[in-house]
């Protein structure tokens, strides 16, 4: 067992670069998944079966297949179809799309939890559909779903290393590059693993506190 602190120090600049990319993917991916999830959730409630069933089928399919294979699918197949994206963009879209199928379920549960009386009141006031959604239902539903969404952001953080497979320079890929350059395998990978725990544990504590506070 030999641990070399100087290897850790040498790795720090790359670690920061990787952390920056990981956080960028996380923020952009979250934004995609939050907004796309809302679209899916609206699709679940559509009155026409022609909308409802395809949306359910697509989200179910995306949710039960591995993110890694979806990443490769987008990375290899999109260029065949003539769409050229950078690895970073492809990865962010893939992770956002994958998690949007989870957030859709979260939104659905949140919307279902809004009491039926609220819908009836909106009908009684003859509010137009967009006012019913944006002024009555969503403000009540979104408040309930914040902790669950937070949990999925943490889950997304833990899935960002998958982007190393399509050569996005995030934390894991940076540690692999460092190992390839210096032949130090132990330190970079361990530092990255610890970094993930150090980010994820306080974040999950934060979400739990939020949960308790909103439940009151």
């Amino acid at each position: 067992m030999n641990w070399d602190w100087s290897a850790v120090v040498d790795f720090l600049p790359r670690l920061l670069d990787g952390l920056l990319v990981t956080l960028q993917v996380l923020v952009l991916g979250s934004l995609i998944s939050f907004s796309l999830g809302l679209v899916w959730a609206a699709g679940f409630r559509a009155s026409s079966r022609l909308v409802r069933w395809p949306v359910q089928a697509v989200t179910e399919f995306v949710r039960t297949t591995p993110l890694l294979v979806q990443l490769f699918f987008l990375f290899f197949v999109l260029p065949e179809w003539g769409v050229q994206f950078s690895a970073f963009t492809t990865g962010t879209i893939a992770i956002g799309l994958h998690y949007s199928t989870y957030t859709a379920q979260v939104y659905r549960a949140g919307i279902d939890a809004v009491p039926a009386g609220q819908w009836e009141a909106a009908t009684a006031l003859s509010l137009p559909a967009h006012r019913t959604w944006f002024a009555v239902i969503l403000p009540q539903a979104l408040r309930r779903v914040v902790p669950a969404l937070g949990n999925y952001v943490i889950a997304m953080l833990k899935d960002t290393p998958l982007l190393a497979a399509i050569s996005v320079l995030e934390l894991l890929q940076q540690s692999r590059l460092e190992s390839a350059a210096t032949f130090q395998y132990t330190e970079p990978l361990t530092v990255v693993g610890v970094a993930f725990i150090l980010i994820a544990c306080p974040a999950s504590l934060l979400v739990r506190t939020l949960e308790r506070r909103l439940a009151r």
Partner: protein, 219 residues
């Protein structure tokens, strides 16, 4: 895609994926029940250790744990894991930590009076767990376990990055051989979807069975 590619790569790949799923699900179940029950243990030390375990393994990424077990542990300890077993270990340990939370939640959801009745009948703690608490807690665990099993199936795709020849790795090889991505990757996605479908269906059936044993009518 020719039949030869199916026989040499894709079908064995599916078999490896199923094996990985079974082995790591077994390990995860052992970890989940062990750690989950430890989190309801009366000794404070046991509870703290179990909590630290779940927090650490839930905090880390399964892929990084896998790489770590495969690349860092051998030089540190001087022995090497076969990629397949490094993968099973990583998946089992990290998904076991998620499972432990499910077990703990279900155990805590059993009415306290049931536990007290066990005490009143002077059951040993183990008899109480085995005869009173677990039979009522297990049906509650099955729906979240079903979701976790599908997550685990998706997690098995990560092993292809260690060079284990699972179905995702087969897709990569077929892609290199045929120079076509859309076809093989669509097929592989459907394969995963079908395995997940079989998992959810059989877990639903299992849930009905265990609930029927308790005399509760499943929805």
């Amino acid at each position: 895609m020719t039949a030869g590619l199916w026989q040499t790569w894709v079908l064995p790949g599916i078999w490896i994926t199923v094996q990985l799923l079974v082995y790591s699900a077994a390990l995860a179940a052992v970890v989940a029940f062990g750690v989950g029950m430890a989190r309801t243990h009366c000794s404070r030390l046991v509870r703290v250790l179990a909590t630290v375990y779940t927090e650490v393994f839930r905090g880390t990424s399964a892929l990084i744990l896998m790489f770590w077990l495969f690349f860092v542990v051998p030089p540190l300890l001087g022995w090497q894991l076969v990629p397949m077993w490094a993968a099973v270990l990583a998946l089992g340990l990290s998904y076991g930590a998620y499972g432990a939370e499910i077990v703990r939640g279900a155990l805590n959801a059993v009415a306290p009076a049931q536990r007290e009745a066990g005490v009143a009948l002077s059951f040993t703690p183990w008899q109480r767990m085995r005869l009173v608490v677990l039979p009522q807690a297990v049906p509650e665990m099955l729906p979240p376990f079903c979701n976790l099993l599908v997550e685990l199936l998706k997690g098995t795709a990560l092993v292809s990055l260690l060079g284990v020849g699972d179905v995702s790795f087969a897709a990569y090889l077929v892609r290199l051989a045929t120079q076509e991505s859309a076809q093989i990757y669509s097929v592989i996605l459907v394969v995963y979807f079908l395995i997940a479908f079989v998992i959810t269906r059989s877990m639903k059936a299992l849930e009905r069975r265990t609930k029927a044993n308790l005399g509760v009518v499943a929805k």
